[in-house]
Symmetry: C2
Subunit: 212 residues, 2 copies
């Protein structure tokens, strides 16, 4: 299966490398291919392309761009190239202009995931992985031997099921189905707690386990 | 020790009853004492007063009012009656006017806890217990035998230490010191995830455990 990963930051790089390791045909999409040349030298199975090349390459596409720039990046990727496909949105609408910890640009009665869904109505947006750092996203067993939860939010049940299966292949054991895409408001808001946990614990190799 | 609990809702009632059970001299403060007459018949050790009577009664005071009305309620309690005291803020700035799940009225670059601290600069505001339901606040062992975390945020280290000790007497084993009062932005934002967890799990007897 062909995968497209939009973004050139740590999350995009880590997800791309992991997908290639799992045997997928991966293209990573960036505004500036030069930026990824060094990284590619140790990740030669991953192709590099523009946003507009990466979206058609992927039968499933990841949005791992900076959340504040995601809508613009997806526009460059092209609506026609995303129509009918699953878009796994792992981004958070954090605004870094005022230093750390960042506030959220979208909040409460809306979410970045829903904004993307409204802008790309024929794409199946699935929100997940945005509550953990890049390494934990794809190697969850490195935190507490996998004994913690990842959340998934989506309107399309088949898309949710396919992404759930992919999460299992990453190593996720506890996948928490939060409900429809509006529940991404909850996981995006959680980032404001996550940054404080990170600040207090001095490590980003952390997550939460839901207890009852 | 005398305790004042501001509020007449479930959180205020539950905290008041638990403090009385632990041997404290408790007054619960309400805008409308009539509302609590029925409840008091089975909680006779708890006195009922106005906000302005309850604040001076308490050597430590809880803000368990509706978050959207907290600043107003604390104004009625009286700044002079709160000066020099610890105010344990368990409220969340949820806005219920648009139905469930509610959005937050304060968010991101500020928190209700900080708004209260700014309005009452000589009071030691400690934010805690706002991430769980009323019953879990004071009987944490009823969820996963206490194997989960409560957060605490405060600027004053002595106040934080005193409230930590009180939390232990409620049964809290894992008390996570998030840092200064600005970290309440994280725990207040988390409510937006909590309401979704509640929605998905059909129970509010839940919490998170921090894993690393």
């Amino acid at each position: 299966m062909r995968m497209g990963v939009l973004g050139s930051g740590l999350a995009a790089q880590t997800i791309s490398a992991r997908l290639a390791e799992l045997g997928y045909d991966v293209m990573i999409g960036t505004r500036d291919p030069e930026k990824l040349k060094g990284w590619q030298s140790s990740n030669q199975r991953v192709k590099i392309g523009s946003f507009a090349e990466t979206a058609p390459h992927g039968e499933m596409v990841f949005n791992a761009t900076n959340g504040a720039a995601s809508l613009n990046a997806l526009m460059m990727a092209g609506e026609a190239n995303l129509n009918g496909k699953i878009l796994v949105d792992v981004s958070n609408p954090l605004g870094f202009s005022n230093g750390f910890p960042p506030p959220l640009k979208v909040f409460g009665t809306d979410s970045l995931a829903e904004q993307i869904q409204r802008a790309f109505p024929f794409t199946k947006v699935v929100k997940t992985l945005n509550t953990v750092n890049a390494r934990v996203m794809v190697y969850p067993q490195e935190v507490a031997e996998g004994d913690h939860h990842i959340f998934i939010s989506a309107d399309d049940p088949d898309a949710k099921a396919q992404v759930t299966e992919l999460l299992r292949s990453f190593g996720w054991i506890n996948i928490f189905d939060l409900g429809d895409l509006s529940t991404a408001r909850g996981t995006e808001a959680y980032l404001l707690l996550w940054v404080r946990l990170y600040g207090a614990m001095n490590t980003s190799m952390i997550n939460v386990k839901i207890m009852k």
